[in-house]
Amino acid sequence: MTSRIKNFPGTSLSEKDFDESKVLFVHDELKADYAWDTGVGIGAYLAGLKRGVILGSRCNHCRKVVVPPRTVCEWCFHPMNDFVPVKGTGMINTFSLCYVTWDVKRITEPEIPAVIMLDGASELSESSVIMGGIMHKLGEVDPQKVHIGMRVQAVWKPEPEREGSITDILYFKPIGNE
C-alpha cells in the first residue's frame, strides 16, 4: 500500500515559519502548582534524610530491604512498614556524563547522574535487580575517572540547612583514593 501512495499528508513547518509569522499560533503558559503529601514511606525517607540517615523498608515476609522505603512489598504484596537504616556508602551501578540540562540548555562541565547501590540493602544474586538503587549525582570527582563499580559515599548538607529532601544529600563522592 505504501508503494501505491505517492503523496502522504502532513505539512512540515520550520522555526522560521514561526519567527516570520507565516503561521498563526497561540502561546500560553499553564499555571500548575501542587503540594504533594509525602505519604508514609517517602515521608519516613525524607525525615531520615533530615537526620542524616538513609532509610529503606524491610519486608518481614520475604525479608527484602529496599530503598526508597515503601509500604507494600512488590514481590510478595505484604506490608513493608518496617523502616530500617541502610548505609550512606555504596557502589556505582551506572553513571552518565551529561552535557544538557533538563530543559535542553548546553553546559560545558558535565553533570554526573548515577544509580548508586547502597550498602545494607538486599542483594539478589540470581538477577541484577538493584534493591538499594537510588538516583543521585556525583561530585568531587574527575569525570574521566568515574567508573562502574567505584565505591562512593554520601556528602550531606550541614545539619541546620537540611530540610527533609533528597537534596539534603549534596552528592556522592569517591571513597578514599578511588
Binding site: 500500500m1 505504501t2 512540515s12 535542553v104 547522574p113 538493584i130 538503587g133
Partner: protein
C-alpha cells in the same frame, strides 16, 4: 477467541513540526486507512485511540479532545496510554475489541504532536520522574537512557562503534520510507561517533527525533476480513508486561518485562523458536542501544549479542531476519504513540508485499513489533502473520 486481521493502514509523514493539529493528523491517517480497504466510517463499530502524555499537547483528556479526527464520535471510543508502549498496545487493544466478539470492524488510530510543547518536548518529560525523590535533582530524560546504555555496554563489553551500526542501518533504511524524517542513505558509523555528546554515552545520532505524526489501522474479524480482502494480515499474538515503577531498583541490563510480554505473544501465536519463526523484527528503537536491548528481550538474540545481528548482516533488509526495515524511530521519526503503530503498519505492508523500496525479499510470513515505555518499564508486543 476470534481471529483478527489487519485489513487497512494509513499514515502521515513524520515531521519535526506539523502544521496540522492532532485532530487533523488523526483524520488524515484514519481516512487513508479506511480508503485503503474501501470502507467508510459507517462501517466502523468502535475506535481505539492512542496518544502519549497530555503534557505534550497542554490539553486535558487529549483522547476525547482529538476524538472527532480519530473517528470516535457516536461509537464506543477509548484511548489507551502506556507511554512509549502505547502504539503497539493500541493494536493489542483493537485486537481484543474484535477477538472478544464484541465488534467486527474496529479503527485503531495513534497520534502524537510533540512540537506544541515549548521550546522543546524534552522538558515535558521532567514530570515522569518521581516528584519527591527525583525531580528535585533536575533530571533529564536522557539520563535514564545514558545510565542504562552505559550499564549495558559495560556488562557485556559492547562498544559504542558497534552500537552506532544500529543507528546507521535504521537511518539508511528510512531513506526508502516516503514518510521518514531522518532518512540518511549515506550516513556512517563515523558520523554517529562524531555527533554532539548529549549525555555520554548517548550522542545526538544515537537518539530518535521529536516528531509529529499519525498512523491508523483497520481491524476486522475473520469472516469480515475474508470478504473484504484477499490479503489479510493476522494478529497472531499480543502481550504486555510491566516492571517495577522504582526504575533505580530495576535490572538495567536485561529487559525481563519485554521477555514476559514476548512470551505471552509467542505462546498465543504458537511460536516455539522465535529466531527461526520470526522473519521480520521491528523492535522499539528510540535509542540505538534500545533496539539491541529489545532484540534480546524478544529472544531474538542472546544477551549482550544482539549487535552481532548487525555486524554479520542478519539484521540487514536482505538478511535472514531484517530488523526495522521501516527505518524505525531512529530514521522514520518518533511521534511516540504513532511511532509504535507505524511498526505494526510496516509489518502489514511487508507481509503483504507492498512495502515498495523497503520490501524485504523472500516473501516473509511472520513478523514481530514491540514497543516500550511509561517510566521505561512497559513492554508491549504484537506478532503478525499471513
Amino acid at each position: 477467541m476470534r481471529k483478527v486481521a489487519v485489513i487497512g493502514a494509513g499514515m502521515t509523514k513524520f515531521v519535526r513540526r506539523a502544521l496540522e493539529t492532532p485532530k487533523e493528523l488523526s483524520w488524515e491517517a484514519a481516512k487513508m486507512a479506511l480508503d485503503s480497504c474501501e470502507l467508510t466510517m459507517d462501517n466502523i463499530e468502535a475506535t481505539c485511540f492512542g496518544t502519549a502524555p497530555d503534557a505534550f499537547d497542554g490539553v486535558h483528556l487529549n483522547g476525547e479532545y482529538a476524538s472527532d479526527g480519530a473517528g470516535g464520535w457516536g461509537k464506543p471510543f477509548m484511548r489507551s496510554y502506556v507511554g512509549g508502549g502505547t502504539g503497539v498496545f493500541n493494536a493489542a487493544q483493537g485486537w481484543y475489541h474484535v477477538a472478544s466478539g464484541m465488534f467486527d470492524l474496529v479503527l485503531v488510530v495513534a497520534e502524537e504532536k510533540m512540537s506544541s510543547f515549548y521550546p522543546h518536548a524534552q522538558a515535558a518529560f521532567l514530570t515522569i520522574f518521581d516528584h519527591t525523590t527525583e525531580r528535585a535533582l533536575k533530571p533529564n530524560l536522557l539520563w535514564i537512557f545514558a545510565l542504562e546504555m552505559n550499564r549495558y555496554m559495560t556488562t557485556y563489553g559492547v562498544k559504542k562503534e558497534e552500537i552506532a551500526r544500529v543507528s546507521v542501518q535504521h537511518k539508511r533504511n528510512a531513506a526508502d520510507h516516503p514518510c521518514a524524517l531522518l532518512g540518511e542513505p549515506d550516513i556512517t558509523v563515523e558520523d554517529v561517533l562524531k555527533s554532539e555528546t548529549l549525555a555520554w554515552p548517548v550522542q545526538r545520532f544515537d537518539v530518535s527525533p521529536v516528531s509529529d505524526g499519525a498512523v491508523a489501522l483497520v481491524l476486522a474479524a475473520e469472516h469480515v476480513a475474508k470478504r473484504l480482502t484477499s490479503k489479510p494480515v493476522w494478529i497472531e499474538g499480543v502481550g504486555w508486561h510491566l516492571d517495577t515503577a522504582y526504575w533505580t531498583n530495576r535490572d538495567l541490563v536485561y529487559p525481563r518485562y519485554i521477555e514476559y510480554a514476548a512470551k505471552m505473544a509467542y505462546d498465543m501465536a504458537g511460536i516455539k523458536e522465535p529466531r527461526k519463526e520470526i522473519h521480520i523484527a521491528e523492535p522499539y528503537d528510540p535509542f540505538d542501544y534500545k533496539a539491541l536491548h529489545h532484540l534480546e528481550g524478544l529472544q531474538l538474540a542472546d544477551r549482550g549479542k544482539a549487535v552481532e545481528l548487525y555486524i554479520n548482516g542478519t539484521a540487514a533488509r536482505d538478511g535472514n531476519m531484517p530488523v526495522c526495515p521501516s527505518g524505525g524511530l531512529l530514521g522514520v521519526g518518533n511521534p511516540i504513540a504513532a511511532a509504535g503503530l507505524m511498526k505494526i503498519a510496516e509489518l502489514f505492508w511487508q507481509l503483504r508485499g507492498e512495502a515498495g523500496a523497503r520490501q524485504v525479499p523472500g516473501q516473509p510470513k511472520r513478523g514481530v513489533a514491540q514497543a516500550w515505555g511509561d517510566l521505561m518499564q512497559v513492554g508491549t508486543v504484537v506478532v503478525m502473520g499471513r
